[in-house]
């Protein structure tokens, strides 16, 4: 019930915003209120959430399309709870940012944003393949317009590329879903059982490989992340990409034990390649968002490594790191937006020396940068370490690549920081471009605060991601995937 509420509060809010004839400011305000209410709802739901139990929490299951055995089934396990939380928090920040800059055509804009949040929550809460697919696609609808209308100069190419890529992947998944569900007579994840059909497996994999993205499937990445409005970019890289994490953890691993074993090497190699590739390219990007985009790609590669390690460390690490990366990249996108409003560009050629006289900005850039490169002690480090330790089981080579990526991450993160903050002032930076102000801090500080808390206590998430903190056995217990 509560899950349903979490899904539909934003959707209702969207409709509310669409129909209420309010001014730009008040529209933003209403949207923000809805988003905050959502946050409150989520926090409240933590109280009765039994992380230890291996039953879905707040689950709901109503017959919807008996003909094909499709039902509206939603519910939360620990890791889903965290992903939902990530969505809601980042979403709130995004809405806040939109309200702060005062977007054109506010009603349409905030409506779509709330719609997107609702759809994302739906994705992470889905317990039925079709419901999952429905939300998985539904989130494209707002993204398409949000990027295409409010984006940068190349927005239209960006948005079309993004949607076509994603759809190509997810339609293959649809074929797989049909094949899987029809042959099993149900689409309910809890009853659907396992399949050993490689093609069906590959269909799912395709969708998630595009979404993550893994190496050859990232053609949409740069354009989409760079051209999108900052807050949308934040949601894209921070949350939307996590749909892949959810899919892999909750659909692929439990229901395709055979193929997972057969293709593990392939996926792990792809993921490792993605990690290195993303890091290397991040190091050559000419602008802030480019760096963040490719670093996101690298991080997703790392997360996939953890997932396909299919052991406790790997899975817990993957969940933890998903949350970390979501918060960090979201923060960085917002930050990028704020810097761009000051300098008029995100290009390093025009930036630099912003630390002088802007202590708050400098501090935040530094902090987020350090989280990005997973400085030891940060929650990102915890996640990264867990993943590497986990994937070590599958071959020291993957761990070695991961370790190398630590150095690469240091390289590009430091480059990013210096390019923004250090040395002489960039040509594009006017000296009257001030420090961050209250409104902007309201958005960033919460993110950083959460990251700080997590850094002090990463176990807060890892312990509570899977029943009894036994991911492998739990995933396995969903139909026979033996714990490695």
């Amino acid at each position: 019930m509560l899950t349903t509420l979490l899904i539909f509060v934003p959707l209702a809010g969207a409709i509310l915003v669409w129909i209420l004839p309010l001014s730009r400011e008040s529209t933003g305000g209403v949207a923000l209120l809805v988003a905050l209410a959502e946050v409150g709802l989520w926090l409240g739901s933590a109280r009765n959430f039994d992380f230890a139990s291996d039953a879905q929490q707040y689950s709901a299951n109503r017959e919807w399309f008996e003909e094909l055995g499709i039902s509206y089934a939603v519910g939360l396990y620990g890791f889903q709870y965290w992903l939902v939380g990530l969505t809601i928090v980042v979403g709130a920040c995004a809405v806040g940012y939109g309200a702060w800059v005062g977007r054109e055509r506010a009603r349409a804009y905030f409506g779509l944003l709330l719609f997107l949040i609702g759809a994302l929550v739906g994705v992470f809460a889905a317990q039925d393949l079709i419901v999952f697919y429905v939300f998985f696609e539904a989130m494209l609808i707002p993204i398409y317009v949000l990027v295409g209308v409010w984006g940068g100069p190349q927005r239209i190419k960006a948005t079309i590329t993004f949607v076509l890529y994603t759809m190509a992947g997810s339609l293959l998944m649809l074929a797989s879903i049909i094949a899987f569900g029809i042959s099993q007579g149900t689409f309910l994840l809890s009853d659907i059982g396992t399949s050993s059909n490689d093609w069906v497996f590959l269909g799912f994999l395709a969708a998630f490989a595009v979404k993550a993205p893994l190496l050859p499937f990232h053609g949409w990445l740069r354009l989409a992340y760079v051209e999108a409005p900052p807050e949308v970019g934040a949601i894209l890289s921070g949350v939307v990409s996590k749909a892949a994490v959810f899919g892999l953890v909750w659909i692929v691993l439990p229901h395709f034990p055979g193929p997972v074993d057969d293709f593990r090497t392939l996926v792990l190699v792809l993921a490792a390649a993605t990690l290195v590739y993303g890091s290397v390219l991040a190091f050559r990007q000419p602008d802030i968002r480019g760096v963040v985009a490719y670093s996101s790609m690298a991080q997703m590669g790392l997360i996939v490594l953890g997932i396909f390690a299919v052991n406790d460390l790997g899975l817990d690490g993957a969940v933890l790191h998903s949350v970390n990366h979501g918060l960090v990249s979201a923060g960085f996108f917002l930050l990028a937006g704020m810097i761009e409003t000051r300098a008029g560009t995100g290009l390093f050629s025009g930036l630099g020396g912003m630390a002088k006289g802007r202590p708050i900005l400098a501090t935040l850039v530094l902090t987020l940068g350090m989280f990005t490169l997973a400085v030891p002690g940060s929650t990102n480090f915890a996640g990264e370490f867990a993943i590497l330790a986990g994937v070590f089981d599958r071959g020291w080579g993957y761990a070695a690549v991961g370790a190398a990526a630590i150095v690469l991450a240091a390289l590009y993160a430091l480059r990013l920081i210096s390019a923004i903050l250090h040395e002489r002032r960039g040509t594009a930076v006017r000296d009257d471009a001030g420090d961050l102000v209250g409104g902007e801090l309201m958005l960033l500080v919460p993110l950083v605060a959460i990251l700080a808390v997590l850094s002090a206590w990463p176990a807060g998430i890892t312990e509570r991601s899977f029943p009894a903190d036994e991911p492998a056995t739990f995933i396995g217990s969903q139909e026979g995937l033996g714990a490695p």
């Binding site: 017959e63 919807w64 399309f65 008996e66 003909e67 094909l68 054109e104 055509r105 349409a108 079709i130 697919y133 429905v134 939300f135 696609e137 539904a138 494209l140 609808i141 398409y144 317009v145 295409g148 209308v149 409010w150 927005r155 239209i156 948005t159 079309i160 949607v163 076509l164 759809m167 190509a168 339609l171 293959l172 649809l174 074929a175 049909i178 094949a179 569900g181 029809i182």
Partner: protein
């Protein structure tokens, strides 16, 4: 002394209601003063279509078992009733849309012909022998020929009319010859009797079957029998196009399903393949050609070709699920099609010139309601979730997968991906400009006062498009009942 057979008037009532409309509006065109001619016809038509829909509903309710009317002239069953409801509903929507068109002449005749065509389709959908089938086909075809050419002052309209007439008659000629051959092979005209009759592998029989299939595929506008579609859809008055795209397809598909399943079940291993091939061809050609289109009506025409492909997949499944899927798919399809053409009509009246993608620019911001509606219609046609279109496709694919044709699913999925290219293009045109956000296309005709009836029609279409997603099960149950009367 000849004893005239007892006639099941209830079975005929939906048709008769529409015929009555035709007659009254025709009279109205003569006696009612010009000033009130339009209002009169609109009101009468609405009443008539509504009545017909209600009557069809009653028929649906009262005939769980199929029964022949006047020795296999027509069947009274839920399938026919379902189609009748659909057609009548489309008719209502089209009338609402038409009310606001600036038609200066042939007002009464327009509505009369519309009603007549609908009547023909309703009958066609439940025809039970080759003769009634052919006659009903001609019945609504001829009405449509006239409707297409009705704007005699527009060159395109005449061109469309003539093209439709000639190719259409050509098609029905072939259909007729096919009927003759089948008759020759079996000595029967009634579908059921044809099934009973011997000579399944008789060369005459299969030849005739092929020609009949071709003739029907023509009406369904499945590739390669589709080539008239774009031209006619583009040239005909937009409201007529809307009607054709939705109602004709529905009627033709229902009858195709009916005849293939009732008359030719013995040969199914032949025609399933054929239908599948037609479906694939339609998907490929329709989607590819649509990408290249700039004129919106033409684009939608091609999209309707590709939808014919999807619907034929359902028929190729050759099982009860397939039939059910077909009927369910038709609901959101008709809604979205009519709605989309309604929006096109609105824009057309605003700009007083054909609507191209570039002329659509900014509609989303200038007319938020129409914009959002159009957006959702496109999504539904593209098979996005939260619209009936998605579940329709899903259902069709599942059906054909159950029939064991996984490759059709794959092709269908790829075709869907291809179709996004142009559906999203429309959405892009609605909301995004390469230039700055906002701004407006100068309305050549000066935007007319907002047309309440048209908006109502669009609203209804929107409700159905989205509602059919959330209330899928009840609708599917209806479709299931409707198909139950077919001998699967």
């Amino acid at each position: 002394m000849i004893d005239t057979p007892s006639v099941d008037w209830l079975a005929l009532s939906p048709t008769l209601a529409l015929l009555a409309v035709a007659a009254i509006t025709l009279l109205g065109a003569v006696i009612v003063p010009r000033s009130s001619e339009r209002a009169f016809s609109v009101v009468v038509s609405l009443a008539g279509f509504a009545t017909s829909a209600v009557l069809a509903g009653i028929v649906f309710d009262r005939s769980p078992e199929a029964s022949a009317v006047v020795v296999e002239s027509m069947t009274r069953d839920r399938l026919g009733a379902f189609a009748a409801i659909l057609i009548a509903a489309v008719g209502i929507a089209v009338v609402l849309i038409s009310a606001g068109d600036g038609r200066r002449s042939h007002v009464g005749e327009y509505y009369a012909l519309l009603a007549a065509a609908s009547a023909g389709m309703v009958f066609f959908a439940s025809a039970a022998n080759l003769m009634t089938m052919f006659l009903a086909l001609e019945w609504f075809s001829i009405s449509l020929y006239v409707l297409c050419a009705l704007d005699t002052h527009r060159r395109e309209s005449l061109e469309a009319g003539l093209k439709y007439l000639i190719v259409g008659s050509f098609g029905s000629g072939i259909l007729l010859f096919g009927c003759a051959l089948v008759y020759g092979a079996t000595g029967e005209l009634g579908f059921a009797s044809i099934r009973e009759a011997t000579g399944a592998d008789d060369p005459l029989f299969v030849t005739g079957m092929a020609m009949i299939l071709a003739g029907l595929a023509f009406k369904v506008s499945a590739a390669p029998f589709h080539m008239w579609t774009p031209d006619v859809y583009q040239g005909a008055p937009t409201t007529v196009t809307a009607f054709m795209a939705a109602a004709t397809k529905a009627a033709a598909l229902v009858l195709t399903l009916r005849i293939l399943v009732t008359a030719f079940p013995e040969q199914d291993e032949i025609w399933t393949i054929a239908v599948a091939v037609l479906a694939v061809a339609s998907l490929v050609i329709g989607n590819l050609a649509a990408i290249a289109q700039r004129d919106l009506k033409r684009l939608l025409a091609y999209s309707s070709v590709s939808h014919a492909g999807f619907l034929l997949i359902a028929i190729a499944a050759d099982n009860a699920d397939g039939g059910t899927a077909l009927l369910y798919y038709l609901i959101p399809y008709c809604a979205a099609t009519v709605g989309a053409f309604a929006v096109v009509a609105a824009r057309e009246r605003e700009l007083a010139q054909p609507v191209t993608l570039s002329r659509l620019e900014g509609l989303g911001w200038e007319r938020p309601f129409l914009g959002i509606a159009m957006w959702w219609f496109m999504l539904s046609m593209a098979g996005f979730p939260l619209t009936g279109g998605f579940l329709g496709k899903l259902f069709v694919f599942s059906a054909v997968y159950e029939a064991g044709w996984w490759w059709l699913v794959v092709i269908g999925v790829l075709a869907t991906a291809l179709s996004l290219a142009y559906y999203l293009n429309v959405v892009r045109a609605l909301y995004m400009r390469s230039g700055e956000i906002g701004g407006t296309v100068v309305a050549a005709g000066g935007s007319p006062p907002r047309d309440l009836l048209l908006d109502t029609a669009v609203a209804c279409a929107l409700v159905v498009t989205i509602g059919s997603f959330f209330l899928v099960q009840p609708l599917v149950d209806l479709a299931r009942d409707a198909v139950a009367s077919l001998p699967f």
